[in-house]
Symmetry: C2
């Protein structure tokens, strides 16, 4: 018998299919393989092939020269542009505005073969701090209502280049999924005067069946009603609305937990393509009491068919209890 489960934050229902009951070996796995590419514009030495850097973390060298550990550059093909005004406009029934925003790329390492799973805790922490610094800088621009930070790892997850990088898009609106999560958390707070994420975390830590791993500040867990097989969330234990306001020790703990989780996935799911998203509160909203930042990692193991995005109704062939157990039992050296 399949189960219909409701996400306690957004109210979204998913089908957890036990008829299909997919284990890792049942998926058509599509490992991400990184082969050297001398023409890669994101490799050290090829800085001239990218737009001029916005910032970099470097031990030596001038801007746009070798000697860096991490670079932030404007996207060469931005979906939104920084210059201009929003010019909100109606057209009969319709509403539009200019595509104002920022679209940046965070090149996470100078080395083509590195991934977040292999580059080491200090390098992952450097990436997280770069995310924070860019968000804090872009929040000064009053046109922006939200900054999305996401990573497409592997072609099947939407990556265009192989070299590991993340993207950032600053938007003049709050995206719909964020809106729903924030509104759901607010509704829970209005009734209970508690954060729904804190409530979920407390229940999951007692129940244990969906816990993947823990450290001082972070808990990795399969959510109760995941949309996708092996979807995993990393939740900070400490209630806080915004990723960019986390403490230094929390960034260090998140870096360790993220590397650990991605190595578990690499091992059990054969280096899967994946998407990573930072969920943080909207820029101009006072969500401090009820929103709780977190990170979502979603391996790309299934093809999303039309019916799923068109109905908003997801069919997940792997129960989260089983996914958590597979990832929990992945015995990792050094973790």
């Amino acid at each position: 018998m399949s189960e219909l489960r409701k996400d306690p934050i957004t109210g979204r229902w998913v089908i957890i299919s036990t008829e299909l009951a997919r284990r890792p070996s049942d998926f058509e796995l599509d490992p991400v393989v990184l082969s050297p590419d001398p023409a890669c514009p994101f490799c050290e030495g090829n800085e001239a092939q990218t737009p001029a850097e916005i910032s970099s973390d470097r031990t030596t060298g001038a801007a746009n020269q070798p000697g860096w550990q991490l670079r932030v550059i404007p996207n060469r093909f931005p979906v939104l542009r920084v210059e201009g005004t929003l010019d909100r406009e109606g057209e009969g029934l319709f509403d539009k505005m200019n595509g104002i925003g920022a679209h940046e790329v965070i090149i996470e390492t100078p080395r083509h073969e590195d991934t977040l799973a292999t580059m080491g805790d200090a390098a992952v922490e450097r990436v997280l701090r770069a995310f924070r610094d860019r968000v804090l800088d872009l929040k000064k621009d009053s046109r922006f209502r939200y900054v999305i930070i996401f990573k497409n790892h592997g072609r099947a997850a939407g990556a265009k280049l192989a070299h590991t990088c993340s993207q950032l898009i600053a938007l003049p609106i709050v995206p719909r999924e964020v809106r729903e999560e924030v509104d759901g958390a607010k509704a829970h707070y209005q009734v209970k005067e508690r954060c729904v994420f804190c409530d979920v975390l407390r229940q999951e830590l007692t129940d244990r069946r969906r816990i993947v791993a823990e450290n001082t500040d972070m808990v990795a867990m399969s959510p109760y009603a995941p949309r996708f097989p092996f979807e995993t969330w990393i939740m900070p234990r400490r209630h806080r609305a915004r990723f960019e306001d986390a403490e230094p020790h929390e960034f260090a703990s998140l870096a360790r937990m993220l590397g650990d989780l991605l190595r578990r996935m690499d091992r059990m799911l054969e280096h899967p393509p994946y998407n990573l998203l930072i969920h943080t509160a909207p820029v101009a909203e006072d969500a401090g009491a009820y929103y709780h930042w977190h990170v979502e990692v979603i391996p790309k193991l299934t093809r999303v068919a039309g019916f799923e995005w068109a109905t908003g109704f997801y069919l997940n062939p792997t129960a989260p209890e089983e996914a958590a157990q597979v990832l929990r039992d992945a015995r990792m050296s050094g973790s």
Copy 2:
């Protein structure tokens, strides 16, 4: 400059990217090619390879024998099952129920090489009437709140078998995208006492830039804020909440319009994979005043990356005015 556009029904914003400005020749097209397959379980003569039919439209022969034009069968791997009770249950913060529902397959033709674009108006009309009949039958079961009818055409759109077919899933809940559309239409009605779809249709028929084709009862158009390139809606001129309540002449007009639209897409987009969805009002809701049934056809031309489904924020590289013009200008013999 890109544009941010808001869908007038759901309030969802999309980015229409003029930086990318993709025309048909700019996509990596992935034509759906149908090659004969003697082992196909959906071909005439292979009836024994499918579950026993629920219904069929046939000129000769007994059930589950050759002689049919269309068959409806239970899905061999159903995501939900008809037998059992919902057993709504809480688990601390969480809510679940048993996966009760129906999952059926409509085999649209006995011939492996046919598609909705090539099989002719009468055969397409037969398919639409089968959809209606199945919905009317399943609505008698009071456990069901919504019946989704959708088609995945081609592997890239999620089809597992090549033989043209549609699927139907009866659900004990109203899916989220339907909920949003219905609620958006209701909110418009509460303010204006008019159907928002009728308002959109009236404005589009005056404006003309997003109209693809028209006949007596139906209008094919690119929506103002489409999520996907070449996304096209077929709207009935006559206001009515439910597909299954349409008049016989409307089914005939829809069949002609659907065949015409799919032939235009086949011609201009090289036989693309696509998803088709019937949007109709939820079973038990009195949406007669404000909801307006319609059909959405979405060619699969781009890869949806993680950021898009995770944020609910879509980036569309083709303006709907351009898509409509391409499809409008496709000169079709016999249309």
